[in-house]
Every structure is written in structure tokens, then in C-alpha cells.
Symmetry: C2
Subunit: 338 residues, 2 copies
């Protein structure tokens, strides 16, 4: 019989439809055109050597030899405009604002053919440091209410650009979905006088059934109510409401964790398309008892349809405990060099 | 400059990114394999003549000549099980229920090669009557909290079955997303002492900018804050909270409206993949001041990525007023026979 599980942090129910379940290995990406991706692509605006195709870098991280390792660029087709003052108009049921905000691209490496799973942890440290700096700089802008850092990898995840990159969008409103999540987390805190995420961390460490990685500062697991196969949450063990409140040691640890999670997916599911997002407290970093930032990774191995559209409720065809066991079984040693 | 618009009924903000905008005609489906779909397919479990492949019909609508026109079947791979009593378990942050509920398939026609746009209004009347009956029967079940009627058309919309069909899922919980929407509609009512949807209907009729169809009993328009190109809402003009509270005359009118909306998309965008869902008050039909049922149609012409995942906020690359003007310009006469 299928089962329903509720993510008590978000209040979302999911259906785990075990009868429809495929075995974990069957979620592997379909065989693709066997194409060796070159480290340099002549038309790519993000490749080292093509910097004239992507001018206006707002931030550049350089190596000791002076070559750039990470670049931050304004998005060429921004969803929000960096210029202008916020304006708000109301007319009956219509609510309008001009689209001010920030939309940046983080070019994660000079090489065209890298992906998160194949990056050196040192390179990912640079990327995560860059995320932190961008976030802190964005919340200085008085127009900004919410900062979202995210990555789209592959066509099914909504990007056609092959070069490894992630994005930051800073919006002049707190999206309704995030406001609702904040209210749910606050309600949990009111009831239990504890951050719901801190409690989940404790329980996932105790149970171990859905655990993927347990490092000095982070824990990664398949949520009990994962909404899709191999949906992953990674949280700092320390109660940190806002992403940029992490310290340097935590960044180093997070970069290695991110690499290893991505390697599990890359090797276990054959380089699936995926999205990841960093969920963080709205507004500037500050003390907050009920929210806890985390990374959510969603491999694009299933498709939302009318049911999900109509209910916000997902049907997950994989048992989270089985997905976790499968990913834990992926051998990372060879690629990690011991 | 992009703009932000808020749907005051759902509180959701969308970004209308006009700079990224394509012209309406460019949303047409990519050219497909030119294949004439036959009216009968030998392996199809839903085709007339293959009834032994899909046994257990719970409801059959027949023509005067005795041949079936619509059949309701249990889903072969149900997301929820019809058998069993509801059980609820709680263990720390984990909330679990067994997956009881109903998951039916509505076979909309005996012919394999029909689609909503090409159906006679009389056939759609049968389908909508069937929706109504299924809904009323589902809410009799004391385990059922929410009924969702929806349709997936085409691979991008999450179905691989070509034969025209829709689905009903009756869940033993009210999904969090629907609870949040109810709260938002209730808040609007508290502030304004009017159903937010009734007010939208009045305003859309007044403005006409986003209007698609205005019939005796229904109005269809592109919402001011449409979350994707050609996202359509159709609402009864009368304040009706729950879908099965529509009367026969309204059903007849709705069937014709649905056909004409689908024809606009079929002809204007070259038979795009789409989902539609009927949003209705949770639980059994009853009096309710703040909610108003409606049909939401979402052609699958764009893709959600990390930004949408992280915020619940969508980037619509088409201006709703332009999309509406484009669809209004589609000539339906030829196909409608005057």
C-alpha cells in the first residue's frame, strides 16, 4: 500500500507510491549521446579566453598565478533589473511592482567541462565563499528582501548552458511560498520551543536510515518526506538561520560535503540533471530561533504533472530509505584519491 | 524593465520578464513527427474494443445505441489505495499515514485520436457530468478530505498515454498548499467582505484586456499574475465554492467553454502539451463565502528550474495581455462550424 508522509517543517504531505516504485538504479539518466565535452568551447561566454563575450564581472576570484578561478557576472537576460527604485501600485485586486533586484551568474570554473561532482574541493570552497560574499552584498541593498542562490544543471533542470555556473536572484519581495514556510517553522517552534530543523538533525543522526553524510559540521540525508527520488537535504549541525552566517571552517567542510553528494549522484545515477537551492532566512543575517538554512538538491529524475500542480503534493516513486541506502553504497574512493 | 505582479487570491508573486519575452506565436510546440494518430490502437487499454485490457469500470456512460461514450476505471498503478482504514502514526518529527484514498481514470472517449479541442461539446458534457458524479461519490467516503480532478496531455505534461483521459485523486488529507490558499482567500474575505474571485471576475470583465471568453455562466481569462505563458483561469460567474455545486445548464455552458479554450490553444499553439486542474473547496460541497471553484489550464511551454523550486515564484516570459490578445485572435469558426 502507498503511504503518506508529512514534512513537518514545510507541512507538505507526499505520497510514497511503493507499488509504482522503480529500483534505485533504474533512475539512472537515459543513455546520452556519447560526446566528450572539451575543456574549452569557442562560443562559450564563460570559458577562460572568451572574457570579452561576458563583460562586466562584478567580482573575480584569482589564483596565486593571477588567473581567474571564479567570476561573477550580471545575467545577460536578467529576471530583475539592477537599476531603479522600487515602485508599488495597487488597483483593485491587481498588485504591481517594478522588477528591481539583482540577477547574477556565478561562473564556477574557467573550464567548460567541469561539473560540481568533478571539482576539487578547493575550487568549491572558492564558489561557496563567493556565494557568501554575493549574499552579504545583496542584502546591503535596501530594495532586497530575499536572496536565492541556486544551480540548474542540464536541460531537464532548465538550463541550456553547459559551462558550470550557478545563479543568485535577489528579489524585492519575500515570495509567498517562503513566507508560508517561515510561518510553519515558527508554529513548530511555538509548539515545541525548538527549531524543527535542529530536531530533524538529531533524529536523522539517531536513526541513520536516511543518512548520506555526517561530517564535522554538516549532515546530509534523504528527507523522511522527500518529494522526489533522491531529493537531498544538507544542513549545518549548528543552528544557523542565514546562509552567510557560516564560518570559514564550515565553508571548507560544506564544499567537501557538496562535492561528495554530487559525486554520489554523478556516479550512482550517471550524471543526472539536477537543481540545487540554498534556503535561508529572508532579509539580512540576524538571530532567529526557528529557521535553519539548508541546501536542497533535486535530481530531475521524475516529472510533476496535474496532480502536483493542483495540490502542491508530490508522488515519490522511491522509498527514501532505499534511495539513501543506494547512494551510501556508491564508492567515492577511486575519484577522491583515497 | 521586468515587472512583478501578485495574484492576490494566492498571494503568489510572479516575475513578468518582458526583456526575455518571445512573441506569442513562438511558443508553438516544436514541429513533431508528422504522424496520423489512428482512431483505434490495438494495444491501448482505453480504446473501444479493448475493454478486456481495462476491467473493473466503476461507471460507464452509454449512448442511446448502448455503446459506451465515457468509462471510469480504477488507476492500474494507483497513487492511493481504495482499501483500508486510515491510520496515523507520529514519531518525533515524522508524520505518517497509510495511503488510502481513490485514484480513478476517466476515459473521455472511445476514440484513441481525440483531444479535448476536437471533441463535440456533447461529449464534453458527458465528461464533465462524470467529473461531477465522481466528485460527489468520493466525498461520501469518510476517509476523503480533498478531491482533485485533473488532466495531463502529452509527455511534457507528465503522461505517456495518448488516449484522451483525465484523472481523479481523492486524498485523506488537505494538502498544505491548498490549506495555505484557503487561508489567503479567507484573509481577503475578512479584509474586504467579498470573495476575491468574485471581485476578479468583475474586474476582468470591466477591463477586458486579459479576457478570453465570456459566456452566460462562465468567464475565462489569462490571470493578471499568470505564472506561465497562456496560463488560463475559467470561473463560474455565480459564487460557487465547490465544483459539484454547478447545475446542468452551467455544465453545458462549461463544456462548450472548455472546448473553445482548448481549441484556442490547439490552433494557436499547435496542440501544446498541457495540464488542467479543477480547484475546489476541500471536503463535501457546502456553503462558503470566501472560496470559488475554478479551472486552471497550464500549457507546458516553459520549464520550472531552481529559482521556481526555491521560491515558488515563477518567471513568465510572456505578457498576459499580449497572450490574451493572441488567443482571442485565433479563429475558431471553421472548426466550430459557424
Amino acid at each position: 500500500m502507498p503511504e503518506l508522509r508529512q514534512n513537518i517543517a514545510t507541512r507538505e504531505w507526499v505520497i510514497i507510491a511503493t507499488e509504482r516504485s522503480r529500483r534505485p538504479a533504474e533512475f539512472s539518466s537515459p543513455p546520452r549521446e556519447q560526446r566528450v565535452v572539451p575543456p574549452y568551447s569557442s562560443g562559450c561566454p564563460f570559458c577562460a579566453g572568451n572574457e570579452e563575450l561576458s563583460p562586466g564581472a562584478s567580482h573575480t576570484v584569482r589564483d596565486t598565478d593571477g588567473r581567474w578561478r571564479v567570476r561573477v557576472l550580471p545575467n545577460k537576460y536578467p529576471a530583475l533589473s539592477r537599476e531603479g527604485d522600487p515602485a508599488y501600485l495597487e488597483d483593485g485586486t491587481r498588485r504591481w511592482m517594478n522588477g528591481v533586484g539583482i540577477h547574477d551568474v556565478i561562473v564556477e570554473a574557467p573550464e567548460h567541462n567541469l561539473t560540481t561532482a568533478l571539482m576539487e574541493p578547493e575550487q568549491l570552497v572558492r564558489v561557496v565563499e563567493c556565494y557568501r560574499q554575493l549574499y552579504l552584498s545583496a542584502v546591503q541593498d535596501p530594495r532586497v528582501e530575499q536572496v536565492l542562490l541556486f544551480k540548474n544543471h542540464g536541460a531537464a533542470a532548465g538550463t541550456s548552458l553547459e559551462h558550470p555556473h550557478s545563479q543568485m536572484v535577489a528579489t524585492p519581495v519575500v515570495p509567498a511560498n517562503i513566507r508560508d514556510r517561515m510561518a510553519h517553522a515558527m508554529n513548530y517552534y511555538d509548539e515545541h520551543r525548538e527549531c524543527v530543523f535542529c530536531r530533524m538533525i538529531r533524529e536523522e543522526l539517531q536513526s541513520g536510515e536516511r543518512l548520506l553524510l555526517n561530517t564535522d559540521h554538516f549532515i546530509a540525508f534523504i528527507p523522511y518526506a522527500a518529494f522526489s527520488p533522491f531529493h537531498i537535504w544538507a544542513l549545518p549541525k549548528r543552528h544557523i538561520p542565514s546562509f552567510p552566517q557560516i564560518g570559514q571552517e564550515e565553508i571548507n567542510d560544506f564544499a567537501r560535503l557538496l562535492r561528495n553528494l554530487m559525486l554520489m549522484l554523478y556516479l550512482g545515477l550517471d550524471n543526472p540533471d539536477f537543481n540545487y537551492v540554498i534556503r535561508s532566512l529572508p532579509g539580512a543575517p540576524r538571530r532567529n530561533a526557528f529557521f535553519h538554512w539548508y541546501l536542497s538538491i533535486v535530481p530531475r529524475v521524475s516529472k510533476a504533472a496535474g496532480f502536483e500542480l493542483g495540490t502542491g503534493m508530490y508522488i515519490n516513486t522511491a522509498l527514501p530509505e532505499e534511495s539513501a541506502a543506494f547512494l551510501r553504497g556508491v564508492r567515492l574512493d577511486a575519484s577522491e584519491g583515497g
